[in-house]
């Protein structure tokens, strides 16, 4: 007899489908295992939860339905007033994916010499330190003196000094970067972020280290890398391809962190190695999709998706309905405008929004 029987019985009991004999079988089982009581009670509580009642989208749909019945000459008691102008057929939006090819990468390459000679406003803050940064809503690609290439996502900054390439190749990153590092065994490539240091010999990987996020993520595509967490210098972690390392920011390290001391549950480690996420037929991991100009998320909370969208589209989000922060969403966007993306998400995931200039409000 397999363990599955237990789950079949328990699920039948919860859904009211168990016969008296089955209930007895289950009871006998549970009697032998008092330690299951707590969990089973939790499941029963979970089962009883009802969905919340609001559905504002349906209000619009109802108006359209009445209108349609009128057009079809179906008698329906007192008909409502003619539709207000805002609500028309085009409120029913199509679910669509933009057809086009992805947009070419913004802004091209910057070679070492050009930093000093070109006076581009994006680069060069001081002669000692080279700094490349991107604003919200834009990305850039940087070539380092040794030929390594870094794609910087929106709202990010990469710095390195003039000793780069002499004995070590050191850079500092805030935000998100996708690195393609030239193999040079004798000159390790080291990335410093606020929480972790990453040492690489030659490889392709992605690092997400936005100070306002709860965590730092390092995703390995090819090669191998060694990650050291700053407050645990003896813990070196080596990643294999298609793994990612997530480091949760400690409270107090940067003023913006949302994770409060008491919210860190015991069972969740502060450091976790996970698999990279791939959407159905994609060859590029969700974590690195942004370099191909795709904004991609799979089973993420709206609160986190909103942060990604803020950087991608250069907008700000405000959740007037806090509950919507917990909606789970999945999606991929390439050349859509923010309005198109919001419309597509609204259709599938049940929320309302308003966008004014660059501010998005969620209801």
């Amino acid at each position: 007899m397999s363990q599955e029987i237990f789950w079949v019985l328990l699920s039948k009991k919860l859904s009211g489908e168990a016969s008296p004999a089955e209930l007895k079988d289950l009871e006998n089982l549970v009697l032998e295992h008092a330690e299951w009581q707590y969990a089973i009670q939790n499941l029963e509580d979970l089962w009883k939860q009802q969905p919340p009642k609001d559905d504002m989208q349906a209000e619009d749909a109802y108006m359209l339905h009445l209108h349609r019945m009128k057009e079809m000459n179906i008698a329906f008691g007192d008909m409502p007033e003619p539709l207000p102008a805002i609500i028309g057929k085009n409120r029913i939006r199509k679910w669509y994916w933009a057809a086009a090819a992805s947009i070419a990468f913004a802004l091209g390459l910057f070679a070492f010499n050009k930093f000093f000679n070109n006076n581009s406003e994006k680069t060069l803050v001081a002669r000692e330190v080279n700094e490349i940064s991107t604003r919200q809503g834009s990305k850039t690609k940087v070539e380092l003196p040794d030929g390594s290439v870094v794609w910087l996502n929106a709202g990010s900054k990469l710095t390195y000094n003039k000793e780069y390439g002499q004995q070590l190749r050191e850079v500092t990153l805030t935000g998100e970067g996708y690195f393609d590092v030239v193999k040079m065994k004798e000159k390790p490539f080291i990335i410093h972020t606020s929480n972790i240091n990453i040492k690489v010999l030659g490889t392709v990987f992605n690092v997400t280290a936005y100070p306002e996020d709860k965590q730092t993520e390092t995703s390995l595509i090819h090669g191998s890398i060694e990650v050291t967490i700053k407050n645990r210098p003896n813990n070196k972690i080596i990643l294999s391809p298609n793994e990612k390392l997530v480091v949760y920011n400690e409270p107090g390290e940067n003023g913006n962190t949302h994770l409060k001391e008491k919210e860190i549950p015991e069972k969740i480690p502060l450091v976790a190695i996970k698999q990279l996420t791939y959407q159905n037929n994609d060859t590029i991991a969700v974590e690195a999709a942004w370099i191909r100009d795709k904004l991609s998320f799979k089973n993420e909370l709206f609160a986190d998706v909103a942060k990604k969208m803020e950087r991608w589209y250069d907008v700000t989000f405000e959740f007037e309905n806090k509950r919507k922060e917990n909606l789970l969403m999945y999606g991929t966007f390439t050349t859509e405008t923010v309005e198109e993306a919001l419309a597509a998400l609204e259709f599938s995931f049940g929320f309302r929004y308003k966008i004014e200039h660059k501010k998005v409000t969620i209801y």
Binding site: V8, R68, M72, G77
Partner: protein
């Protein structure tokens, strides 16, 4: 399932009094789930919206006969399915229920500290686990947990066997339990008589 009771009351009010408020309330109650169901079959938001409207027109036209249905939600889902498949037929498209293309948003799994003795983080994982279920499994889970359909009704609706429904529900429940660190080991099984 107390939602079915509520729906039956609305249907009575509609049939006996042509109650407009009840009509609207019924619509608001059913719209999103029926639309998702239709959308999964028709693959078009616009068509799904029209389809749901058609379902409600039918409810309105047949209101007098609806007061005796035992299981209204099952009836509405079945109507939605049939109208959708008919529409596909008329458009000469392939008439079938997809295995894994279901759009299913579950709304009853959320963090309410007053009702649940669980941490927010565990709830997050549960939500994620539910969303990671294969879509048909999640659909079955939702139809049973949120809509209160019976196993036989779901089997009928999705053209599957009751055994399949039992197995899928077991899978869903087990995955959720794993998030709560609840799983059972092999050593068990003496107590159950066949």
């Amino acid at each position: 399932m107390h939602e079915n009771e509520h729906i039956k009351r609305l249907l009575s009010a509609i049939a006996l009094n042509n109650d407009q408020t009840a009509c609207k309330e019924l619509f608001l109650l059913l719209h999103s789930r029926l639309k998702q169901f239709a959308y999964s079959i028709l693959k078009s938001g616009e068509e799904a919206e029209e389809l749901v409207s058609d379902v409600f027109i039918r409810i309105w036209q047949k209101r007098d006969q609806l007061t005796t249905i035992e299981s209204p939600l099952f009836y509405f889902y079945t109507t939605t399915k049939n109208l959708s498949l008919n529409r596909l037929k008329k458009q000469k498209r392939q008439v079938s229920l997809s295995a894994e293309d279901w759009l299913v948003q579950m709304n009853s799994i959320y963090f309410d500290p007053e009702q649940l003795m669980m941490t927010e983080e565990i709830m997050r994982q549960i939500k994620k686990a539910v969303n990671d279920l294969p879509s048909r499994c999640r659909l079955i889970f939702k139809l049973i947990k949120e809509d209160g359909l019976k196993y036989k009704e779901v089997a009928d609706l999705l053209q599957l066997s009751v055994k399949t429904i039992e197995a899928q529900m077991a899978i869903a429940l087990r995955r959720i339990s794993k998030c709560m660190h609840f799983d059972i080991k092999n050593s068990l099984y003496t107590g159950i008589k066949k």
